[in-house]
């Protein structure tokens, strides 16, 4: 064998028979590919248009494409080792685009990159480096899939994946080996044909395997709705959410076919991790199976054979799945869409759910307590009533207005605002923002609540809102948009973080505070540093194992705080134990729902529990007037 040279060997002089064979093989491969891919593309395109979708903000889309597709940022950041291996395979493919074109052209005697030329030497060597990295990468991924076998990949061993890995390895190996031979050696011709065959066998395997993501996911990432949990508006009088095939939109279908089955969504799902039947990956694959078997534009229900209603209603809408997904699937609009389909048509029959809906249809809050109780609380705390002269409207929310612990948090936050000299007032009347019904898919009650609140806010001439509840923040700022314009709102962590220099601090503190990121503050709003900065004024802030964008839900979101007992382990117990296991003396929270869940979870444990305080309470403890008023 000839030792390595920087020149790629290319066989010369292909016979007519060889050229003909090559042409036939290319056509066969292309036809096989299209016979499988054509129907898929057709199903995506035949799905209905996505209501409210517009291809605006190209700059942002281009950036997402550059970052997530070309740089593989999410793929690498959230799973560094396999992510890097994948990135090298991807970059190898990119580098190979030109190589492959030239490779086929050579077979027809019209190669355009001379291997001995200046550019040829440079480019082929450049591609060789990627080929090496790609070969190592795919070998690593092969070992991971077939020997390490992380459980997120599923119980079934995918032999197709093994075969694909072999083909990719063969592509790289046959390319690299051609540097060790000469143009006229028989080995060069054999390598050329082996490379060609690997390529032409690879192509038709793409459409019916998860490798379809090669073709679709760049489009999926570019075309995503943007935002987080962007729930599309209902279009017209016959749209009730995802009820049947005719409700699947082009985006949903595109996303369903883009799933690469990596299981990152499953790995982070609080429902899956506590033994519930919900598995976000299976939801997406269920939609895909429905599209394959039944297709779009049909009246067959989506829930039933392909996805279970029970699973769909186990989602806490924590958004880990959507955050983690490397191919741009937006799980929340799909899960919530399926819930909308069930609730808006009345097919979801759940005693707790019905109670919640009736409470919010007739009353003012999700807890089903008389609004007079809120009035009493406001009077007792002597909260000023918002009259337009104050800077902030302090939004109490259901938890702040009715829940005992939530009230303590609001009262403490109000004391801190007093200390800072910020003027604020509370509304005379306030209704639930509609967060739980929005996430459970009840568009009727959500609309009533949003419109009623928007009217009260505009009558009161509110300019800025601050609240202790991340769910209120999200719902008021994003979800109400369909019904009007709400004043700007911020979470109290954002407010307090602006005043960290002026916040009271304890005389001396060796307190270790473990901070729990609420889903609706972190993943939904991208606020991670502010609550930590506030908590840091009271002690040393540490992170639990799963923190920031990987934070594990408390179990309350998605309306689940108001539904009945969970199956499997309780999500709140799992998280509370994780927080307590850090050895911190205090758990710091920034959401009254998380607080309430952990209060119960810690109470149920026999272990000595750390104390549980909201960031506002951590600050309020050091107020100079702390001894005077204490209770809520």
């Amino acid at each position: 064998m000839i030792p390595f040279s920087f020149t790629l060997a290319e066989p010369q002089h292909f016979s007519i028979a060889e050229k003909l064979l090559l042409a036939v093989l290319i056509i066969a491969s292309g036809v096989l590919f299209w016979r499988r891919f054509g129907p898929i593309l057709n199903r995506i395109l035949r799905s209905k248009k996505d209501p409210g979708f517009h291809l605006g903000n190209i700059g942002h889309r281009a950036w997402e494409f550059f970052s997530e597709v070309l740089c593989q940022s999410k793929v690498i950041r959230q799973r560094p080792l396999p992510g890097l291996a994948h990135a090298f395979v991807f970059w190898g493919f990119c580098a190979f685009a030109l190589v492959t074109l030239n490779h086929i052209a050579v077979g027809f005697g019209i190669g355009f990159l001379a291997p001995a030329g200046m550019f040829g030497r440079f480019y082929f060597s450049f591609a060789a480096m990627f080929a090496l990295a790609c070969a190592v990468g795919i070998l690593g991924l092969f070992v991971r899939r077939f020997f390490v076998r992380p459980r997120w990949l599923g119980d079934k061993v995918s032999y197709e994946s093994g075969f694909i890995a072999f083909l990719i390895f063969a592509l790289m190996a046959t390319y690299l080996a051609a540097f060790f031979t000469t143009d006229d050696a028989p080995a060069a011709r054999a390598l050329w044909w082996a490379h060609t065959l690997s390529l032409l066998i690879f192509l038709p395997i793409i459409p019916h395997t998860k490798h379809l993501h090669l073709v679709l996911s760049p489009a999926t990432v570019f075309l995503s709705r943007g935002g987080f949990s962007a729930i599309p508006p209902l279009a017209g009088d016959e749209d009730f959410g995802l009820v049947a095939g005719q409700d699947l939109t082009q985006l949903v279908s595109l996303q369903a076919y883009s799933c690469v089955e990596c299981g990152r969504c499953t790995e982070h799902c609080p429902a899956t991790n506590t033994g519930k039947i919900l598995n976000p990956k299976e939801i997406i694959l269920g939609v895909r199976a429905y599209l394959n078997d039944i297709g779009p534009q049909t009246e067959q229900p989506l829930l039933g054979k392909y996805n279970s209603q029970e699973a769909v209603f186990q989602c806490t809408t924590c958004g880990s799945c959507e955050f983690q997904c490397p191919v741009g699937i937006e799980h929340l609009p799909i899960l919530i869409g399926l819930r909308r389909g069930a609730v808006n048509t009345g097919s979801w029959d759940d005693a707790y759910g019905t109670k919640l809906f009736n409470a919010l249809e007739r009353g003012s809050n999700a807890l089903g307590i008389s609004a007079a109780e809120r009035d009493k609380f406001v009077q007792k705390q002597q909260f000023p009533i918002f009259d337009g002269s104050q800077e902030y409207c302090l939004w109490l929310g259901c938890m702040g207005g009715y829940d005992p612990k939530g009230r303590e948090i609001v009262a403490d936050f109000a004391r801190v605002m007093n200390f800072l000299g910020t003027s604020y007032g509370v509304l005379r009347k306030e209704k639930c923002t509609g967060d739980p019904v929005r996430r459970l898919g009840n568009d009727l009650v959500f609309q009533q609540l949003a419109e009623s609140n928007l009217e009260m806010l505009s009558q009161s001439n509110v300019k800025k809102i601050v609240t202790i509840c991340p769910h209120c923040v999200r719902t008021i700022q994003e979800d109400w948009k369909a019904y009007g314009t709400a004043p700007p709102i911020e979470h109290h962590s954002e407010f307090l973080a602006r005043f960290v220099d002026r916040l009271p601090t304890p005389a001396q503190s060796e307190e270790k505070i473990v901070f729990h990121d609420p889903c609706y503050l972190g993943r939904y709003r991208n606020v991670y540093d502010e609550p930590r900065a506030v908590a840091a004024t009271a002690g040393e802030v540490v992170d639990p194992p799963r923190a920031r964008e990987r934070s594990f839900c408390c179990g309350a979101g998605g309306g689940l705080a108001f539904l009945g007992e969970e199956t499997g382990e309780r999500i709140s117990h799992v998280r509370a134990q994780e927080l307590a296991a850090t050895g911190a003396s205090t758990i710091g929270t920034a959401c009254p729902f998380c607080n309430s869940m952990f209060r119960d979870a810690l109470g149920a444990s026999n272990q000595p529990a750390p104390q549980l305080l909201d960031i506002a309470q951590l600050v309020a403890r050091s107020l100079p007037d702390n001894d005077r008023s204490h209770s809520a």
Partner: protein, 256 residues
Amino acid sequence: MKIIVAIKQVPERDAQVRIDAAGKWIEEADIQYAMNESDAYALEEALQLKEKHGGEVVVLSAGPERVGTTIREALAKGADRAIHIDANDLGQRDSLGVARLLAEAIKPESADLVLTGLQSDDLGLGQTGVILAELLGLPHASLILQVEKTEAGLSVKRELESGWFQTIELPLPAVMTIQSGGNKLRYATLMGIKRAKTKELRRIAAADLAVENAPKAVLEGVALPQKQRSTQILPGTAKEAAAALVEKLKFEVRVL
């Protein structure tokens, strides 16, 4: 089976009521209204009977224009059509006067069953349904929790005091007043609201029903309840306090 459900619109449970200047009623401005609770259970019972045995559910409500929202809610939950007796003077009518209006609207319908709530959440007189039966000349039963259709007519479960129940049979047609809590109320759905838009809502002016309008009972005045606090702290360990609480609930409050 053709079922007519008479429903009333009352101030919402959370409404902050203020007594009006004359001291005879509450200020109606700024108040939100809802369907009377036991009427909602009457509607639910009617809808379940229709789901089991087929037929038609017609809702009937008397009141000013605002009761339209409550009627539409009933249509959204599944009633087939509605009759609205447009009347602005319900405050001046006693139970007999209101029942006369309802009876006149019901007569031409020749229904198999007329349901209404046991009593209203605002006045709580509990008279209208019973008078209605008399005016229509039909048998009636009150305080009903469950209705079963039998070959001869109906078998119904009545609520008595102290957790006692009574089952009685009665022929059709009949009038019944329904107690809250016998069924689980369904929630209104978006699809229901959309479908309700196309359902028939017939308006009848109260004047056209030509009923006598001289009240036999006149409302003298209304008053807010006096506030009274009587909190008891039960001392002792959690176990002792719980035992004392059970004792009180059993023998003083008698809810256990």
